[in-house]
């Protein structure tokens, strides 16, 4: 040992003496004051009402989306499906008409389009006339035939407004971009439908409603997950320690750490989102881990004679550095998430790391001070005996007697896990973030099945020379491109200005077929007509005022980001083929941003995992100063990750925003057990590694098992979340913690027996 550790050990001792002596009142008062301050803000933490933090904001992507919204306006719409076996009967149509009218009057609704107010362009006695898509009055078979004929003549509207079986009608509700008005509008729409039309078969979906649902579910999760986490962790602590102080102390540390972290989060002006909603349960679980080690250390003093304060100082001085290092490694693992391009993941990484370090500080300020007020436990028999000890002894015997067998089995399982890794799909689907039992999920899937295409990709088309897109040559090429896009298997339909031009041309020339004009002069005349159209607002949703940028809306079937990414690539290839090099097609829109993020996810995962691993390795090296121990510490930390990855692959769990965080978070946590094991092994090693392993496994193995169980159960509470990525993250992280425990109690001791005999003595 060098002078420096001795010096730091002395400093720690002075600090602990102060915390258990004169300074204990000040320390506890300081913690209380800070807690009251932060609790005030923590209770006011806002909840994000949009998915803005779930998408990255690269300059190019955001620039495209900003200019898209500037030109074409807000692209957020709601889709309301109304289903009736006799949809085209006057009574059903009257209901749709009534809903359409009532929705139009709601604040925040800018336009409502349905079968009953849609219009078509036809050739009239005096040129082009705008007439209702379906006749306003009529009944019987003739009336229905006239409706179906009208729909057949307007395939784009037909695709948008009615299902193929003519039993489901879609009402498209355009909303304002103003978030407050949008919120009030959504509430009013839901109220209208659930009160006045509760007897009708309706389904409602759309990105604004998905965002509102996410916001509501986060609130619900906070109300369920935090109390349940407390209950689970409390029960576990009571079961393990069988003392009220063993229950109250960790719970107090947990609550205080949570208040501080969430309070700072609020003070930074941040809102909880789908991912940062995980902060409370994660911090609760991680903060309790250090308390368990400290309290376990205090219990070890049971029955020792003399003044308890020096004994506490002595015990906690030994535990201080391992606890600090485990907190640092956990925090480093979490901090590595900040390399992610998704703001929600960055925030989660930064604030959970902060939470871990704050929890360590709270533990060190509070636990010694409070325990110094209490007499030492007299006996601790229950803790020393039982099934756990028997299991640990068997484990120790297994590793000592059959180290090669243990390593071979672990290697085979790791290989199986690695082969499962290849089955993992990189796929994010915002609607599939919520459980299939949620109404929004059912409604979305219903509408997907009925008309196909709730999600849309937006494309902005311009000429590279920025000239107008008003020549017949331009439009003919774009028409071919749209035809090719519509032929793609995963595309439900596309819509652009060409649909309007074709309708205009049909009405102007009194033709049957929808087609583009056959000469530039006629086309220019149609553009002149468009320019003079009283409905400029709707026209601006399709083309820029100077006719230089055209919007192509591509509705896609229910596919995730992986398939969508390849679809976008295919469309870009088609654009290259049909348009040549004179045009630029830029994909954009809310959904496209999710797709791009998903594609970045793999590189993000690799980056944050490498960063996490290297920082954690550095921390281990600083602590043990041995490359051989470093190499041995790696195995029990990487193998459980391979197992979890394999599990994900075999269970077809996609790599998404939530599951991508597992590796980086877990490596920082699993290494904690490795550090505790190696630290104890070094202390116990007296030349016989088998004996040192047996003692370490049976003694430290107990704390490690409790700690892993706490982490497993604590994370598992996240399984009660309403979001699938959160559920997968929680359950898989919990399972990985158990895997890591198995590795730390089997693979690490086996490795130490086979390869690490000298390491115990070199750096104790």
């Amino acid at each position: 040992m060098t002078e420096s550790p001795q010096k730091s050990s002395k400093t720690i001792e002075i600090l602990l003496l102060w915390l258990t002596g004169k300074g204990r009142k000040w320390s506890l008062f300081g913690v209380l004051a800070a807690t009251l301050f932060f609790a005030y803000f923590a209770l006011q933490v806002p909840i994000e009402s949009s998915n803005v933090s779930m998408v990255s904001h690269t300059r190019e992507l955001q620039g495209n989306y900003d200019s898209f919204r500037k030109i074409f306006g807000n692209d957020e719409v709601l889709l309301l499906a109304i289903t009736h076996p006799d949809l085209l009967e006057p009574e059903s149509l009257q209901t749709i008409k009534q809903i359409t009218q009532e929705l139009t009057g709601i604040e925040g609704v800018t336009r409502v389009l349905s079968l009953t107010n849609a219009e078509q362009l036809v050739a009239g006695d005096f040129g082009i006339e705008l007439v209702p898509l379906i006749p306003e009055q009529g009944a019987g078979k003739t009336y229905q035939n006239s409706i179906t004929k009208s729909l057949e003549q307007n395939p784009v509207l037909e695709q948008l407004l009615i299902s193929q079986d003519l039993k489901t009608s879609i009402v498209i509700i355009d909303l304002t971009g103003n978030i407050d008005q949008q919120g009030r509008g959504l509430a009013a729409i839901e109220k209208l439908l659930s009160s006045d039309y509760s007897d009708k078969n309706w389904h409602l979906t759309g990105i604004p409603l998905q965002k509102l649902t996410v916001s509501r579910l986060i609130q619900r999760d906070q109300q369920v997950v935090i109390p349940f986490s407390t209950l689970v962790l409390g029960s576990l602590l009571l079961l393990v320690f069988r003392r009220f102080s063993g229950l109250l102390l960790p719970l107090a540390v947990m609550a205080i750490s949570l208040c501080w972290t969430v309070g700072i989060y609020t003070l930074c002006g941040l809102s909880l989102n789908t991912i940062t909603a995980l902060l409370p349960p994660v911090i609760m679980v991680l903060s309790v881990s250090t308390t368990v080690h400290l309290y376990n250390g205090w219990l070890q003093l049971a029955g020792k004679p003399g003044n308890p304060k020096p004994l506490i100082v002595e015990e906690f001085r030994e535990l201080f550095l391992p606890c600090l290092f485990t907190a640092i490694t956990t925090a480093l693992g979490l901090v590595s998430l900040t390399v992610s391009s998704i703001p929600a993941v960055k925030l989660f990484g930064a604030f959970s790391a902060l939470g871990v370090m704050l929890a360590f500080s709270v533990n060190m300020l509070m636990v010694p001070a409070l325990l110094s007020y209490m007499p030492l436990p007299k006996t601790h028999r229950r803790y020393d005996t039982g099934r756990l000890s028997a299991v640990l002894q068997t484990t120790a015997r297994l590793t000592v007697n059959h180290p090669r067998l243990v390593l071979t089995l672990a290697l085979l399982l790791a290989l199986a896990g690695l082969s499962g890794l290849t089955h993992i799909n990189n796929n994010t689907d915002l609607i599939r973030f919520v459980k299939p039992t949620e109404k929004i999920f059912k409604d979305t899937m219903f509408i997907e099945r009925a008309v196909g295409g709730v999600n849309s990709l937006e494309f902005m088309l311009t000429r590279r020379d920025r000239s107008t897109l008003t020549r017949l040559e331009d439009l003919t090429r774009i028409d071919k491109l749209q035809d090719a896009i519509n032929d793609l298997h995963k595309v439900a339909g596309s819509y652009s200005l060409l649909s309007v031009i074709k309708q205009l041309n049909r009405a102007e020339t009194n033709q049957e077929q929808l087609s583009l004009p056959d000469n530039n002069e006629s086309l220019l005349y149609l553009f002149d007509l468009l320019e003079t159209s009283p409905n400029q607002k709707q026209l601006r949703k399709l083309v820029s005022p100077e006719f230089t940028t055209l919007r192509i809306n591509v509705r896609i079937k229910a596919i995730g980001s992986a398939d969508t990414a390849s679809l976008v690539t295919r469309i870009e290839q088609l654009a290259k083929r049909e348009l040549g090099n004179d045009y630029e097609l830029r994909p954009t829109g809310d959904f496209y941003q999710v797709v791009v993020d998903s594609n970045r996810l793999v590189s993000n995962v690799v980056q944050s995992f490498c960063l996490s691993l290297s920082m954690v390795l550095m921390a281990i090296y600083v602590l043990f100063r041995s490359f051989k121990l470093l190499a041995m510490a790696l195995i029990p930390n990487l193998v459980p990750l391979a197992w979890t990855g394999g599990l994900m692959g075999y269970l077809h769990i996609d790599l998404s925003t939530g599951t991508a965080m597992i590796a980086a978070v877990v490596i920082g946590l699993t290494v904690d057990s490795t550090i505790h094991y190696l630290a104890r092994f070094q202390r116990e090693y007296q030349g016989d590694s088998k004996e040192a392993v047996t003692i370490t496994t049976t003694a430290t193995g107990r704390a490690l098992s409790i700690s892993a169980l706490v982490l497993f159960l604590g994370f598992s509470v996240g399984g009660l979340s309403s979001f699938l990525p959160t559920i997968y993250f929680s359950l898989l992280t919990g399972v990985t913690m158990l895997g890591a425990l198995v590795c730390d109690l089997l693979i690490l001791p086996a490795s130490l027996i086979l390869f690490g005999t000298k390491e115990g003595s070199t750096s104790g």
């Binding site: 005096f126 005349y525 002149d528 320019e531 003079t532």
Partner: protein
Amino acid sequence: MIRILAVCFFCLLVATLPSGVQASADSVIWRASIPAEPPHQGEVRLIRRDSALVMQTILNSKVLKHVIAAIQKKELRAWPEDREGWVDSRRYSDELYRAYDAVRTNAKDREDKGDRHLRLMIEFVLEERHNFVTFYAPTLTKRGEQYSVQEKKLLKKLNTSRAYLYNNLGEIARDSFQIDEKEALKLMQPIPGGF
């Protein structure tokens, strides 16, 4: 002698001036862009020209065919078969289309091929003893939303019944100036020669 010369010179000057300048003697009672919502396709003006009352419609549009169609549609609605003046309305509609055709044909020969606007001016003239509609191919200048006529080439003069012309003045005033019948009548006072 000098006085006689001066009067002769003035008369000569007036005779050589473009007709538009002569029209500047018109006293505009009311004017409005049409349609009321942009993009406007022209202007309607109620004019007092000496004792005559003139409803002047200046059209300057790239989609003149559709503007004409809209006018014809309004005529059809305003003049059903059972209303006195229906025949005049039919004749007016026919002449209107012919005037459009003439303007379109003339536009093919003009030098500025980039300008796709077609221009037509219609005047409903109610004099003490005469009632007629005239169609012109005008040359226009525009300041803001207001037009001034630099030149005008007569395309057709159509005599109509007094009932049709008087009532159509009222119809156009109500429609273009967005006023009710009472206000329209007030604007048109005094009616030359009475009604």
